[in-house]
Each structure stands twice: as C-alpha cells, then as structure tokens.
Amino acid sequence: MYHKEKSIQIKNSASALYNNLGVLRIAPRRLTYFTVVHANVVNMVSASWDGLNYSHRQLQSKEPNVATSTSLIMQAAFCALPSRDLLVVTSQKGIQMYESDGSIMVYWHALDTPETPTGVSSGAILVFDVPSKGSNITLSEVLEEHKESITDMASECSGSQECIANLVTADDEGNLCVWKSGEEFQLLNKIPGFDMSCSSVKLWKGTVVAGYGTGQIRLYEAVTGILHAEVNAHARWIYSLDIAPFSGLLLSAAEDSLVRVWHLTMTPETNSVEVAHLHNECVTDTQICGAKFCDGDGYAFAVTGYDLSEIIRYVQS
C-alpha cells in the first residue's frame, strides 16, 4: 500500500519526545515544512514537492533578552489558524511562536519557574488570542482542569461545522478533556483515564482518537464519552497519532518500531465507528517518536525515530 521514498537528512537526531514531528503543507509554494526537535533545538527542513530543493534552518529555544540560557524543548507544532500559520515551540522556560517558516519569532511567553522544581507542568492550558497579522498576541484564558501535565491536544480537523466539540486535551494520567471554543472555552466532557498516560490525541468528526502508553488506541465519542472502540494496536508505548481528515486514515507509531495505518468509518445512523487495519511499516531497529501524514488525504506520511538523523517518508503505491 505504501512504499518507502527518499529520506530527508536532518542536522541533528530526533529526541525521544511524544509527537516529535511537525508537518505543514504550503500548497501555493509547493513546499512542505518539517520540524524535528533535538534537545534545545528545532530542526526545520523546507522540502520542495519535486524533491530537488531542501533548505534547513535551526531554531533554538532562548529567551530573547538573555543570550545564554537555553532550555529543553518539549514539543514543536504547527498551528494552522484561519488567517495564518504559526510554529509554536514549547520549552521548559516558556512558549515561543514563530512565523510558519521559522523566520521571525512573533511572541514569547515565559513560564513561571516554580520554587520547588518539579519538572512537570501543572496541567494548565493557556489560550492565546492571535491576530491575523503581526505580533500582538495576548493570553486570553487559562483553563485549569487537568491535574497532571498535558501531553497533547488537538482540535477538530474535519472542517465540519456541525461538530460541537472543538478541542480535546490529554494528560499524563490518561484523562481527556473535551472543550468547546467561544468567547470563553467551555468544558463539555471529561473522559477518565486509568492511570495510563495518553501520549497523543486527535479529534475527528466528533470522535476522540487517543493513543496510550499501553499501546492501545481508544476511540471515544467526544461529547458523551462513549467508548466506540479499543484497539490493542502496539506492543509498546504509542508516541504519535495522526489523522488524514479527508480520507479518514489513522496513523499510529510506537516504540515497538512499527507504524500502522488504519481506516476509520463513521456511521452516524447507527452511531458507530469502525476501525480497519490497512497497513504496517516496520522501521527496523528504531524507536519511533513522530509520525504524521504529509497531506490531508493520507497519500504520504513521514516518520522520525529516536537517534535517527533523517525523516523517513512513505508514499502510497
């Protein structure tokens, strides 16, 4: 179903962090941006679609006025907003937002250093107001519902206006919170975990797809919390999930060196969700830490692995 294509070499290897791969497709310029985190540096590669041009850039997490302090980056992700795309980099010291090509930092938000260093965040979710242009970004709300550190969050990616829930957030205890955006964010539902960390979460057509440390993937209905399906997908900790919104393909990657492709079918009449397993890729001798589809149809996907200095790509045959 998929075959391996030429890999993209990156300057540093990938760190062993959840969801350690960001992909942004720029159709007008026929480019795709990839981001991979290594310690305190984000490696950005801009790859042209014809496969001929690659340009590299590195972003360091530094406080703008303090030249010397650096901190480890936890995650770097692209946020596709209606009017612009931003690259958001979260590190131990704060949050940085860049233009999508990484050229300019538009915002820096410092996090308070706690008196007793715990090394884990408190579980608060920060909501920022982003204007369509410029750097006038402001913190608009702080949502405090989770008690454990946040591992991942996702917004509704199907583009459908009918879905009530817009956002789902996951934490280290496996608890999921489902929110509705608006003037203020409203908590719609809280789905309990079973003390097993949820490392990656996605929201598609009102269904929450969550990957856990046990290697399981669970599909819940966002608003009601009904469990639609539980898949014993992997033998080790799941590190990354992604959904191709136009085709309903689900990509899951774990420490067991496997990347699996599934297909999700929603049947609104019977209110059921079906999961079908389509394809496996074994990335030999690698603990995979990031896997993402490169386009909305799931025609191609990219994978990063711990200690690997390349982004491996697969394309549908």
């Binding site: 007793t116 280290d172 205890e173 003390d195 960390s197």
Partner: protein
C-alpha cells in the same frame, strides 16, 4: 525534564563501572585482597550516606562533564589507578551499557528493577564487609522509600525519566560482542512474534522489595561471560560536535562538585606504595595508542577549572584534587575574603 533521575543514573552507571572493573581486575589476575579492597572502597564512597543524601535531592541531571568528573573521582577513591585513555574507555562503556538498558525496558517502571539488579550485584561484591554492605542496604531502602512509598511515580513519570535519560546519552560507540549493535551504533532489536503458537500467561512481575527475584535481566552483569574483547570506539566526532562554548554553569557545577567531593572520604595517602594500575584495553600498546589518538580529538570538552578568577580558589581546588591523586599536599595557609559557597566548603575540609 524530570528532576528525579540523578540517583538512578548514578546507581546504574556506578554499577556498570563496578562490573567492568571487576572483570578487568580478574583479567589482570589481581590478588583477592586488592580486588576486594578496591571494590569496598569504591562502593563505600558511592553509597556513603552524605553522598546519597545529596543525590536524592530533586535536581537537574548533571552534564556529561560533571558526571564524568565525579565518576572519575569515584573510580580513584581506591588504590587503583586508571590513566585518562582507560578512564575515557570506561566511561563510554558505562554510558553505552546504561543507554542499552534504558531502551530495552519493557515498561518504564522496569527502570527501578534495573537499578535493583545493579544494587543486588553490588551487594554480592561487598558481601564480606559488613560496614559497606550495610550502607548498600540503607541506600536501597532509601530508594524504595523515595520512589515507591513516599512519592510513587506513575507510568508517565517513569517514561519522562526515560526520555530525560535518552536526551542526555548522546554518545555513540560500537559494542560488537553479542552482536547487539550495528557498526553505525544503532541497536539491533530483533523480535519475532510467532502467532501460530499457544500462549500462556506473561512473565511474572519482578519484585520491588529489598530482596527478591527481579525477573528482568537488564542490569545484570554482562561481563561475567568471557568474550574476546572487540570493543571499538568510534572516532565519529562529527556525530557529536565538540561543544566549544564556555560552560556558563561551570561555577554551579563546581559548587556541586565541591559539595560532593567534600562528602567523599579522602584517601589515606600513605597507601601510595600499594597503588596499582588498571588497563581497560587488551594490551598496553593499545592503551598508549588510544591515549595518543585521543589527545588530538577529545570527544569531550576539557573541563576548564579556571572558571574562578580567584587564584587562591584554584589552588585550593588543586589541593583537593591532589588529595585524590595522592600527590603531596601543598601547604595552604590563607584566609578567604569571599563568602563563596565553594571557598566556604573548602575551608572546612
């Protein structure tokens, strides 16, 4: 990242160091007495109450430089001597073995079981010396208290520990025996799942108590079986670029180092005559070769002890270092005007 990793890292790296040293001592046909003395001295220093209490405080993981320095001091806390090339080799082997163990943990909580395996083996090494054995037991109890009873870590937190360790061990070496690694330094993880077989219940859970069967084999002594030594150190320094930037945390690290060294018992210098050298390479020629080759391209930055401008401070530090290297102690007789942590500590020594 996690601030609870340090004690586990030390116990595991220290444990690996003892396995390697034990194997080398046997390969060199060192006398029983000397071997036992070396083991007791190192274990005694590593598991001393003050040292362990310092380690168990929540703090960030040490940089490679600091870790290497403290472990070098630890290795020399006995009558045994290692030259720089051998010490370098020892450190690489230790870090590599530990990285291997961290990755192959089936569950994040197995990190604790690996540490317990190391502690069990260390107990075996010092079983004839009740004082040191007691220290090991005490430390083991403290670890159980910290990690299981008082603030039990969830699976997510253990995973964070593993990720912290993963981000730290950026070292590459080739470890050919047992065919566990490829030549480029990638681990081989061949697993097959014969789906046609009948399956019974999974392996039983390892014991988290003071004594017990840990079940997991990671963390046990890999060196007890004699393999012809074919370890090679990769000269691929292009993989790990040498960090030339001045380490601005040097002062903090030195303070930490001074606190740790202050808690380590200084050796009786009259034993200089009984000191003996250990070689980590198969022949002395190899060692000399490695020393010569290593000098041109150090894989680690040299520790710049001159982070302090105070001449008196550097002399003082050199004096402390001298105690461990068993050189003649320089007579010192000065009062310090700075209220520095480092100086205050040294004045008390």
């Amino acid at each position: 990242m996690s601030v609870r990793t340090l004690p586990l890292v030390f116990i595991n790296l220290g444990g690996e160091m003892l396995y390697i040293l034990d194997q080398r001592l046997r390969a060199h046909n060192t006398s029983e007495d000397n071997s036992e003395k070396v083991m007791n001295d190192i274990v005694g220093t590593m598991f001393s109450k003050a040292f362990m209490d310092e380690l168990l405080k929540p703090q960030q993981l040490y940089s490679h430089r600091t870790m290497k320095t403290v472990l070098t001091r630890l290795a020399h806390a006995s009558i045994m001597r290692l030259n720089p090339a051998s010490m370098e080799r020892l450190y690489e082997l230790m870090v590599m073995a530990f990285k291997y163990q961290v990755f192959l943990c089936p569950r994040p909580k197995d990190l604790l079981l690996i540490s317990y395996n190391h502690i069990d083996a260390i107990r075996e090494f010092v079983r004839d010396t009740p004082v040191v054995l007691n220290q090991v037991d005490e430390t083991h109890r403290k670890i159980i208290e910290v990690f299981i009873i008082y603030s039990p870590l969830s699976a997510g937190e253990f995973q964070l520990l593993r990720q912290t360790l993963a981000s730290d061990c950026g070292l590459r070496s080739v470890f050919c025996s047992g065919r566990r690694w490829t030549v480029t330094g990638r681990e081989l993880r061949r697993t097959e799942f014969p789906y046609w077989r009948n399956y019974t219940q999974p392996i039983r859970e390892g014991s988290f108590e003071l004594y017990g069967n840990r079940v997991i084999r990671l963390g046990m002594n890999m060196y007890t079986v004699d393999h012809p030594e074919e370890t090679h150190t990769s000269k691929a320094s292009s993989v790990k670029p040498v960090d030339d930037s001045p380490n601005l945390l040097a002062k903090e690290e030195l303070n930490l180092l001074a606190r740790l060294m202050g808690t380590m018992k200084s050796e009786n210098t009259s034993e200089a005559e009984t000191g003996f050298r250990i070689n980590l390479f198969t022949t002395d020629e190899e060692e000399k070769e490695a020393a010569a080759g290593g000098a041109e391209e150090p894989l680690f930055g040299v520790i710049n002890i001159q982070a302090m401008q105070d001449q008196q401070a550097t002399t003082e530090l050199a004096r402390i270092a001298g105690q461990f290297a068993e050189e003649e102690e320089k007579p010192e007789n000065h009062s310090s005007s700075k209220g520095d942590d480092l100086l205050a500590m040294m004045d008390h020594l």
